[in-house]
Amino acid sequence: MERRRALVRLAGLGCLLAAGPLAAQGGGMTPVAGTPAAPPLALPDIDDKPVDLAAHRGRLVLVNFWATWCPPCRREFPSLSRLQKLFKPSELAVLAVNVGEDAETIFSFAGASDVTILLDRDSAAMRRWPVKGLPSTFVVDKQGRLALRAVGGREFDDAAIVAQLRGLLRV
């Protein structure tokens, strides 16, 4: 019975994955008008250790809001790790904020990811950010301001995005 339930769930998710063509996730990110201060973000990571965006002042932070049931989120997730490897830790941090799910569900998808995964179980943190849908991604600059944003999946190690981030490092 458990196997049947699992198969039904997979079938359901598969239908929704096939629902609509998942076209290439390319392109850069959009500059945020006015570069407002980033909203607060202080959440536990998947090991239940507290992480605070404010502690990352002085480097770029890519904040990605996602969920395991979201097909474009799943597709772009590996690119977060690839992006992180292109920068020094002193230059860029990547925070993948999972919305509404528990550690077991997240771990079953992400495994032992080298990306910092934060848990926003009640979505209270996400509601403070200008999230338009999942996935939504923001880049916080070295001064703690919202510099770039993207709605919908991307390949974050795309040359256009990497160039945008290197440009922000020079500011």
Partner: protein, 161 residues
Amino acid sequence: MPAAAQSRSAWHGGQAGVEATATALTRPAVLAFYQARGFSAQAISPYADSCVFSFELRNTTQKTVRLRLADWRAQTAAGTLRFRLPPSWEAEWARRGVAEPARIAFRWAQFQADIEFAPGDWIMGMAALERRPDGAFRLNIPLSLDRRRHEITLDALACAQ
């Protein structure tokens, strides 16, 4: 309904550089997805029993696109239908005592009610018509691009059987 329309489950259209894809979702698929998010079959049944689509909209222009789910219209033989908006569903889940994690997942799996998306942005989400229509229908999706009004039309859509 023509046999071709009955067997078809996905539709694609576009206008002024904004592309739309609609996919009709079957009741079993909707049930499976939301039960995996924590809904009971009974709790999600009003949604699963309705005419549910997965939508994907993609902005291939260099301008900002704005659209509202409340403006979408399904033109059926019996008249015009609208989509039931996310706040209405949220009220339904509160009445049914659905747990918060399931409600959070539902909220963000929906096509958001009021959207502004920048060049390169694309959005996916589900939406359900306020009633299940008999037969095929035309879907009109109004949008604003560079302060000009445009409309994407998808013809001969049909609910999944």
